[in-house]
């Protein structure tokens, strides 16, 4: 095939891609109820005191640490892999609205991170299938390189690549949703991932009261505040309103928790041509056992409600 053949293939590919992307946001025929929070973005009243720009929302979401960081710590403290604390993929059919599906993508995403950190790649296939199915339903499945991920999941030697591609797929879905002014779904994905990460940490702390993990739970306070800030934009949506109520209940349990920090100049060295900076500042979390128990219970209540 010569130039014109290649040209035809490329043209067709791009045109088809364009239609696919256009279809990706093509929920125009659906009613507002079908779309849920997806439809509210365009309706966010101008001058609303809760209004936050799409860009600001994106920056808040992007600043939140990956739930994989929490899973990595959980593994490092010697906690055994526990499949029973994850959200079963058999529940996928329970998630019917775009809002529920987006939150579930976040939840399954955090579960997938936990599975991958423990290198249980055989389990990851079910979670990849679940995420792909939900992502297709909300028209962002095109960013999920399922074929490559499935291939990588067949061996636990590919964990780093699996984590890289699943993270970039997730980030691309998130970015696309915001570009398409469907930030409500992006916010719910972030909320789901955060909630599941905290839930897993809480379940582990119940078994093994590791001090570092307890501190990490305490440090979630400002992240919860940020999530509430962006969720409040969608407070008129009943699903988000329920989630806000649940998150507010978690926040109440954080009321006595505080993070104290002390600044010291960092030390910088060059090691093998790389710059290595040793942070000499210190931070500590003030959190009691009662606070921890209250947070874990409040998180369990919200999580139980949303996973169904």
């Amino acid at each position: 095939m010569g130039f014109s053949g290649n040209f035809f293939r490329i043209s067709l590919g791009v045109v088809m891609s364009s239609f696919l992307f256009s279809c990706g946001s093509g929920d125009k025929n659906k009613s507002k109820d079908d779309l849920g929070v997806d439809a509210l973005v365009a309706d966010a009243p101008k001058g609303d005191p809760n209004a936050i720009s799409e860009q600001a929302m994106g920056e808040i979401i992007q600043s939140i640490p990956s739930p994989v960081e929490m899973s990595s710590l959980i593994k490092s403290i010697g906690n055994e892999y526990n499949n029973s604390i994850l959200n079963s993929t058999e529940k996928i059919s329970n998630y019917t609205t775009n809002s529920e599906k987006s939150l579930a993508i976040g939840i399954y995403g955090a579960d997938l991170g936990y599975i991958n950190i423990y290198e249980k790649t055989y389990s990851s296939l079910n979670y990849l299938n679940a995420i792909k199915g939900l992502a297709d339903d909300i028209k962002v499945g095109q960013f999920f390189d399922f074929v490559t991920l499935k291939r990588l999941a067949k061996s636990n030697k590919n964990v780093d690549s699996l984590l890289y591609i699943s993270t970039t797929s997730y980030n691309n879905m998130d970015e696309y949703l915001r570009q398409q002014k469907r930030s409500g779904l992006s916010v719910l994905m972030a909320c789901g991932a955060w909630l599941e990460g905290l839930y897993i940490a809480g379940e582990v702390v119940k078994e093994k009261n590791d001090q570092e993990l307890v501190e990490r739970i305490g440090e979630q306070k400002p992240i919860l505040d940020s999530l509430l800030k962006i969720l409040t934009v969608y407070q008129e949506d009943p699903y988000c309103a329920d989630l806000i109520t649940g998150f507010e209940n978690i926040k109440k349990e954080y009321s006595n928790v505080s993070v104290v920090s002390e600044f010291h100049e960092p030390e910088t060295t060059e090691v093998n041509g790389e710059l290595v900076v040793l942070d000499k500042s210190k931070s500590s979390v003030k959190i009691t056992q009662e606070d921890v128990n209250g947070i874990i219970s409040a998180v369990e209540l919200v999580r139980k409600k949303v996973v169904k």
Binding site: V15, S66, E69, P266, S283
Partner: protein
């Protein structure tokens, strides 16, 4: 036939550009190569930094929440700008105190990879800029953390 196809191609490309899908100044292969970290570091996110120096915008600043006890890697790579000097990344704490920079001003050396061993959990800022004459530039920065 070619004209019709070209028209479709142009319209489709414009549509994609409008959606920001391919409107990036950094090829995907550069993003991927910039996300190759030292062993045991896990990829978290990559950002394309594009500064067109419109108005007073001369740097891009992003917040990031870092956790005590974690080691983070930050890489910077050049986009399609042909700039002779690499992109500069500065890490600042929430009081805007400079904690590290990939540009050592004493010897004018640039690093494309920095390891930050965090000892204080909180919100930090990553500020990107280009030390070019017009302050314009394009690059990518990837961010990851060490497996514990």
């Amino acid at each position: 036939m070619k004209k019709i196809l070209f028209l479709f191609l142009a319209m489709a490309t414009m549509s994609l550009l409008d959606k920001g899908i391919i409107a990036q100044c950094v090829p995907k292969k550069v993003i991927d190569s910039c996300s190759v970290f030292p062993k045991d570091y896990i990829f978290s996110k990559a950002r394309v930094i594009s500064i067109e120096s419109k108005g007073d915008v001369k740097k891009s600043v992003y917040s990031v929440i870092l956790t005590k006890g974690n080691s983070y890697v930050i890489t910077v790579c050049q986009g399609k700008t042909g700039n002779k000097v690499p992109m500069v990344v500065n890490l600042l704490d929430n009081q805007d105190r400079l904690l590290m920079s990939n540009h050592n001003t004493k010897n004018d050396k640039y690093y494309n990879k920095i390891i930050f061993n965090c000892n204080s959990s909180g919100t930090y800022n990553l500020a990107y800029q280009f030390n070019t004459e017009d302050m314009k530039g394009c690059g990518v920065s990837a961010f990851g953390f060490q497996k514990r």
